[in-house]
Each structure stands twice: as C-alpha cells, then as structure tokens.
Amino acid sequence: MRGTIVVFRKEIYSIFASPIFYAASFIFFVVAGYFFYSNALYFSILSFQATRDPFLSERLNLTNMVVTPFFGDLSIILLLMLPLITMRLYSEERRSGTIELLFTYPLSDVGTLLGKYLATLLVLVIMVAGTLPYMALLESFASLDWGIVFSGYVGIFLLGAGFIALGIFTSALTENQIVAAVLSFGALLLFWALVWAKSYLGPLGGRIVELISIVTHLEPFTKGLVDTRHVAYYLVFTFFWLFMTIQFLKTRYWRG
C-alpha cells in the first residue's frame, strides 16, 4: 500500500516522542504486575494449604489459576489504555491541520490508515511482550503449560488489534482527542458488557449478544484453544472498523 511504510515510520516517531505512550505503558506495567503478583501470591497461599489437604492439591493448577485469569486482567487494562494510545491518531491531525498535508501528499487513504494502524499494533506488541518476563519468572519456580501461554497471548493480541481498530475509527470522527478516547472507551465497554444481556434476552437474542460481545471470544484462547471461529471474529471486528474509518475519511469529499 502506498504510504504505509512512510506513515508507519512517522507515527512511530510521534508515538515515542509523546508522553502519552510512556504514561500509558508505565501504568500498564504497574497494574499488570500487581494483578500478576496477586494471582501468584494467592496460588502460593493455596498450595501451602494444600500440603495438608490432598483433595485440594489435586485441583490446584498453576496455569489455570494464575495464567488464565491474568489474560483476563490484561484485557481489562488494554481496554483502559489502548484508547489513550489511539485517540490522537487522526484527531490530532485534524486539530492541527496536518491532515491537509497527509491528504495532499501522494499517499492513498488506505496506505495512510494502515501505517497508523501498524504503528499502534507495534505499541501493543511492545506492551504485551513486556509481560513475558512474568511468565519466565513463573517458569523458574514451577512448570507452565506454554501452549496455553502462547494461545493466551495470541488471543490478547487479536483482542488488542480489534480495540485499536475501533479506537482509530473514533479518532477519525473528531478533532478532540478526549472525545475520541471517551467514544472508543465507551464503545469498547459496550462490546464488553453486551454479553450480560444474555440472561434476559432469550435463546436467539442471547446467542446474538454472545456472538457480538468482544470478551466471550477471548475465553477459549486463555484456556489453550485457538479456534478459527474466534480468530475470525476478531479479524472481522478489526476489518469492520478499519473499513468504517476509510468510509468516514471519504466524507471529507462532501463535508469540506
């Protein structure tokens, strides 16, 4: 795509020059570290008790009790942090007027969008990969099921990729970064909580919200299952919002 690499490099410069990235990553690692520590500590207390209780010790499993819930925790932190990374992508260009440069250089809209998207995806990878030492630490004390760790990270990456796509869309909608962040945060929360409506929607409605809801598709990954249906969900979710972004960018043709 024309311009993808050029815009990707520029975005990387901008992201790493901005304090937002450092603040968001710092909070991400502090909170993720805290969650991980809590899970691990709780497990260690339980296993201490299990030395006197054979029934309990049979049911204790490091991966199920520390790793799987940790991926759930990560998804919540990403829901809070990624809108802060995506909010400036287009809204800042609109506010400062640089969008006029971007749209008058010989770059295609799709190429530009992909450049921005991939740059943010790299940030996601950096943040999520930063939690790998936690797993290594765990491995040094006990033996982990690395299959589940791997599939969990795949799930988190796909989930984050979807969050970023929606975040870019809301960023294109407004020239105010805060509004963009609030919109994407709200929308993600809705996609998250949609599944709660399952209890009163009846079988068909319940099935539909389960299908649309963003977090129901993460669970299988955290249990070691990489199912194409769930992979497909995140890919469709991502492509949908990227497509909507392109459509929205085209409205400049008649809005002026």
Partner: protein
C-alpha cells in the same frame, strides 16, 4: 498547466464557489485574491486533491484531480493555510517524512532535503523540534516541504500571513525566485503582495471570479485617464470650483487631509500643466503635485464591493 472548468463546490446546501473557471500557463505566477470567505481555500483544496468539486473539472497538467488524484498530487507542492506541521518532529525528521511521502528515496531524498534546507535558510535549525521554532521559521519549514521533490506546480495558501515585515520580504524573495519552469498559484488577501509577486491576478468574491487580468490592466480598466494628487494652500470651495472648470478635468475631490485634492483628468498628462498654471495664476501656493494611480486596494475594493470609485 492548471485548468479549472466551471468548478462548483457546495458545503451541504451552501455553495462555497460557483462556476469558477480559469487557466494558468506553465511558468506563470498567479495570485488568487479575495476577501476572507471568498472561496480561495476551497479552490486550492480542489486543485490539490484534498476534495473533489461538486461539479466541474480541475485539470493539472492534463490530469483530472478527481479521478487521477495520486498522479496529480505528485506534481504539486502545497503549503496549506496556517502552515500545519507536526510539532513533535524535528525539522529533518519532518522533511524526511514529507520527502518520502512524495516518493523520494535514498540519495535523491538526502539531496533534496539539503537543497530545500539551504534554500529556505533552515541550516542552523535543522535539528530543532518544530514546536520550538518561531512562526517565521515554521513558515519556512512549510515552504521547504512544498518545495521538496522540485514539483512543477506550487500552490501556496496565504504564504505570508502572520509574519513580520522582514520575514514577509524574505518569503517573497524565495517565491519570486520560482517562476521560470515552476508554475505558482498563491492566494492572499494582502494586495501589495500581488502587485509585487504576480504576473496575473484572479479576483474572487462570494465564490465567483469577478476579474482576471494583469494587475496594471485591472487598474487601467477601472480608472480612465490620469489622477493627480495636489497639495495646495487655497480656500477649499474656490479651489474645487475653479479647477473643475479646467478643460480636460473630469473630477476634483478633496481628500481627508487638509489642503489635499485628487484631480482626475482625461487624456495624457498635459492637463497637469494647465492645472498648475491655474493654481499659480490664482495666487495660491502650490506645495506638491504628484501622479497618483489607483492602488490595487482601490481596484480590489471596487471589484468586490461593486462601488463606483470614479469621480463624478
């Protein structure tokens, strides 16, 4: 090089420009002149492929801006209004991005960056963050990115707005240096700029072209004959009365300043001699007498307000 054929652009239902047509030849420096809201920026945005017209066609070097947008954009260096720049980048980082965006690579990119940095006088500022630069320097960075890749067409939206007088002179020097092979279209609402820089001017008002000609022709079109400014020590009414009777004089008007009058006359300058003689013979003191053509401001005001400037 640049052809606009009955361009119309509506924002919602409100027309921003209506049926705008003009043509610009290779190597011309043309000014797009008009009050704020006349549609200058809209026209430039259409020509730079930021958005297509609602109807009509714009062609750059024979290419339609709506359907061959990417190829058109390769030929254009554009300085948007208010000079938007990425403030968190350094000058060289930004120029490298701009150059790469225009398809420059490797050695050629490096050479082009050096060239525009030197041409725009950014040498000692190349490693500074753009947000730390003064307005004048930012303007030069904006110009530098437009010049990258040596595009055959330069489109500049109010290139000197917000600069101090010394900076304005500098930027104008740079722009005047173009011409030749490069075609320049610049918008402005500063009139002296047009007479200094442009060979031709297109005047816009309320979204329509109201005039298009060389600055001096425009002046001649509105002003018939010769205008003379006379400073004299004389009783106002008697002066007005006596001078208006001089053969060839078509009008006399007292200016705002005490003792100053503007006399308009037919034909050549010979009437001036008669006016001078009349003043002396009346026993008045003639302090100053200078030819005074309509300024471009007056031409412009005449065209955009449709007021008659002719003295009656």
């Amino acid at each position: 090089m640049i052809i606009a054929e009955s361009l119309t652009k509506n924002y919602g239902l409100k027309p921003a420009i209506q049926d705008v047509s003009f043509e610009i030849q290779r190597g011309e420096i043309v000014g797009l002149l008009g009050p704020n809201g006349a549609g200058k920026t809209t026209i430039l945005r259409i020509l730079t492929c930021f958005m297509p017209p609602t109807s009509g066609v714009a062609r750059i070097d024979g290419l339609d801006t709506s359907t061959e947008s990417l190829r058109v954009r390769e030929k254009i260096g554009f300085l948007p209004e208010n000079v938007p720049l990425y403030h968190d980048l350094r000058v060289t980082t930004f120029l490298r991005f701009a150059g790469a965006a225009k398809g420059l690579k490797g050695k050629r990119l490096q050479e082009e960056m050096e060239r525009v940095i030197i041409d725009c006088g950014l040498g000692e500022h190349r490693n500074r963050l753009i947000k730390h630069l003064s307005k004048g320097l930012r303007q030069r960075v904006g110009l530098a990115q437009a010049l990258l890749g040596d595009p055959p067409i330069l489109i500049l939206d109010e290139p000197t707005t917000g600069l101090d007088p010394a900076q304005i002179v500098e930027i104008r020097e740079v722009i005047r240096g173009f011409g030749g092979d490069q075609t320049v279209l610049l918008s402005t609402h500063i009139l002296p700029e047009v007479s200094q820089l442009c060979e031709r001017v297109i005047i816009l008002n309320k979204g329509k072209v109201v005039a298009e000609d060389r600055p001096e022709n425009l002046r001649a079109r509105i002003q018939s004959g010769v205008r003379t400014l006379v400073r004299v020590r004389a009783p106002r009414n008697t002066f007005l009365e006596r001078i208006s009777l001089v053969p060839g004089v078509t009008g006399v008007k007292a200016s705002e300043k005490e003792g100053e009058f503007v006399v308009e006359s037919k034909g050549d300058e010979s009437t001036r001699a008669i006016i001078a003689r009349t003043i002396i013979e009346s026993g008045w003191d003639l302090l100053e007498m200078t030819g005074r053509d309509l300024t471009l401001e007056e031409v412009f005001m005449h065209l955009v307000t449709e007021e008659d400037l002719q003295l009656d």
